[in-house]
Point group: C2
Chain length 456, copies 2
């Protein structure tokens, strides 16, 4: 028999890892709830037509498709063979796969809203924390199964939601102890105004693609790329001015106003950021306006968010989001604008590990291990064990009579601090011994006193 193994790009989460992940997810979930977001869960797989064509040609290839069952049905053979030829040509066929694993949470959410929009109360605020699957080549920090963790509000254009989502980021990262993060914001209208200032709004994409790389390749190479893309040198001068904008948020907006304030899109973007900042004036949220931030430009239509991990861990983005105009148009329901953010749970986990931010008491082993000293003693011990559990104290009992040494070792291995010992003499005197393994202190207690003890 070959040794069992895990599929590439997937992970088992053992007890310690689950507890740490739950610490992150519970922190996020409770913040979502305080902010009025409601839970939604969608199936692991969707119909092919729900997913295909939504993530570009590359995305389509990275979707995990599920083989139809019953392909050996002779009546279907001709269709199945034809479908298979289609698959061999790199396309998909519902005669071979009718279903596929979800690739993100956004498209299933859009499908849900489109299917239920008559019943939902808008603005509809939902959060969703579920795994998604992508057939990407696995590498450090990139998995084929990973969790996404999204909050969106659909059915309103109010900037109040952009404001509360910034507060939500602040609250979650503060509660996780991850205080060194940076929230970057931008507005798509500023990028559009820049293209306009350069002479042609159609240049939005090449300009944005180029300046998005500023951090990585530096100004000179950005200018080279722009030149290669036939952007005139006068326009490149404007872009250089745009890229040199920096300072406090107020100062950045003033500089942008000088540069783009006469263009309607520029004025709109600056106005939106000012309104948004107005809501946050008394809030502890810190942020930086980054005029180069784009993030999937074709998707976002208003404000854009990105959260960077503390520079010390060089982990990149740990969250992002923005406003979009039309969530459900692809599913035949128009006029559902929205705004949302997501948390990159796997990276947040890695950052918290690197910065040692997980609470030390997260392991939560049982508080007490009851020793097992035989069937007669064991029955009394089991009764006390159950009393403790009913009181909400996690406790466990060694399964069979064994040498003290072995039972102590089991307590240690499981990280249990207290052991409770009830042997022949304690049985007679109706007492029990309680020993704290970390301090070495030991006391003999009546059953009543034992059940009322406060464990440190």
């Amino acid at each position: 028999m070959s040794k069992p193994s895990l599929p590439a790009g997937t992970r088992d989460f053992g007890p310690d890892v689950v507890r740490k992940r739950n610490h992150i997810l519970d922190t996020i979930r409770s913040a979502f709830q305080r902010y009025g977001y409601q839970p939604l869960e969608t199936p692991a797989f969707e119909n092919m037509e729900t997913l295909m064509g939504k993530y570009g040609e590359e995305g389509d290839k990275l979707i995990f498709k599920i083989l139809n069952n019953g392909l050996d049905n002779p009546e279907k053979e001709a269709k199945v063979r034809a479908g298979f030829e289609t698959v061999l040509q790199g396309k998909s066929s519902t005669d071979i796969t009718e279903r596929a694993l979800k690739y993100d949470l956004t498209i299933p959410f859009a499908r849900y809203v489109a299917m239920n929009h008559g019943q939902l109360t808008f603005p509809f605020k939902r959060y969703q924390i579920q795994p998604v699957w992508r057939a990407d080549r696995p590498q450090k920090g990139r998995y084929r199964e990973f969790y996404q963790c999204d909050a969106d509000v659909v059915g309103s254009r109010s900037l109040l939601y952009e404001a509360e989502l910034a507060c939500l980021y602040h609250e979650v990262f503060t509660n996780l102890g991850l205080t060194g993060y940076t929230l970057l914001v931008n507005h798509r209208s500023l990028l559009l105004a820049l293209a306009d200032r350069c002479g042609n709004q159609d240049w939005l994409v090449p300009i944005t693609v180029a300046i998005d790389k500023l951090d990585k390749i530096g100004l000179e190479k950005v200018k080279t790329e722009l030149t290669q893309k036939q952007i005139p040198s006068a326009a490149i001068e404007q872009i250089e001015k745009y890229l040199s904008v920096e300072g406090t948020a107020d100062s950045v907006l003033e500089q942008l106003n000088a540069l783009l304030g006469e263009i309607p899109e520029g004025a709109a973007g600056i106005g939106a950021l000012r309104e948004w900042m107005g809501y946050l004036a008394d809030q502890p949220v810190s942020f930086r306006i980054d005029p180069t931030l784009a993030r999937g430009l074709n998707y976002y239509t208003g404000m854009i968010f990105e959260v960077k991990a503390p520079a010390t861990v060089s982990m990149g983005s740990i969250g992002g989001g923005g406003r979009y105009d039309d969530l459900t148009g692809l599913f035949g329901v128009s006029d559902v604008p929205g705004v949302g953010i997501s948390f990159g749970v796997d990276r947040i986990y890695d950052v918290m590990e690197a910065l040692e931010l997980f609470p030390s008491d997260i392991a939560q082993p049982p508080r007490i291990l009851f020793f097992n000293l035989g069937i007669t003693e064991g029955k009394v011990t089991f009764g006390l064990l159950q009393e403790l559990r009913k009181k909400g104290i996690a406790a466990d009992m060694y399964p069979e009579s064994a040498k003290f040494d072995k039972q102590f070792k089991y307590a240690e291995k499981r990280g249990i601090t207290y052991v409770a010992i009830l042997g022949e003499s304690e049985l007679k005197t109706q007492t029990i011994q309680l020993k704290n393994l970390s301090t070495g202190t030991q006391s003999t207690l009546s059953h009543t006193d034992f059940l009322n003890i406060e464990l440190s």
Copy 2:
């Protein structure tokens, strides 16, 4: 564009359903933790060789297989075509599918234990709450995606675990308010002793399959089936005696002892049940010994559990489990015995709905909706909203200035009890109005008083 739809046999869980499901899962999870079980999560998909051949021929067909990506690679064409011919014959080929969705939690758990047995501390107690997938024909109460919820302890033969698992069932169902359930127990050795008493231990399977149907088809038809299976009439008389055993647990064991006590397996089964009952003597657990209970006979080797829903809802089994000798032998690691139970979450949900057992306050809408009366007022309102959220109170704000009517209606639709109103005059006097929509009472408060108020 065609209307979006869900794959057959799958469900979206909207906010109300997620909260009710979480009420069940949280109740189970917290009991698991008090009993010292540790969380484990395994990937949604496994390698084909991990799953295939583990669930019988029928099971293999119900496993959802994932199509390999890159089937259009010309270099692989010959292999892929050959693999496809295999699939057309109703078999599987790793040239077409290397991975498949998990079918239950037990095999992935066994794979995990086999891969990690060097690092685990035995007895290893784990719980696992995750979805599984089966390509069954969907029907009422049967889904293609559903949750399993298992607790197992491996690496020990102690009956203490059978005792604590019975307590665990009691605690969970009591905490859910589902008190009318029945816990049935049996021991495989009793069935083996019966076959022996009938003259041949090889008759275990036909005898068990027949008597397992007693409830459904009645004694006469059971006897007919046994006759058809060539069981001699003298043996059928013994079986009839076995089936007539009833009464309190002690009396049942006495009757079984008279019938099977001389057979080693009979004595062993009765002895095990007596030891198990000894642990439970002072516990509030109620149970019934059902000598006909078998549940997947080929799997369980010791005690067998089944939980029946209250008879009033005719929902059948809502849980089950038992002891097995060899969890990981299939993966090359021998001598890992264990015992486990599972909770049928979907059926428990249906039973709780039918009996109206969900707490009335489970919907958890935000406590307060802040009205929006314009940008200037809105900024102050937003500040108060954020203060409440920081205090842990779920609250929300209407997104834009709108007529009172509309904002009241939104509060009602979302089930929010309190609304807070801060308009032009409250802005001047630095106050806010708080209105309880269910009582109609209203009061004007300073911001400080407002932030310190205790909501009923």
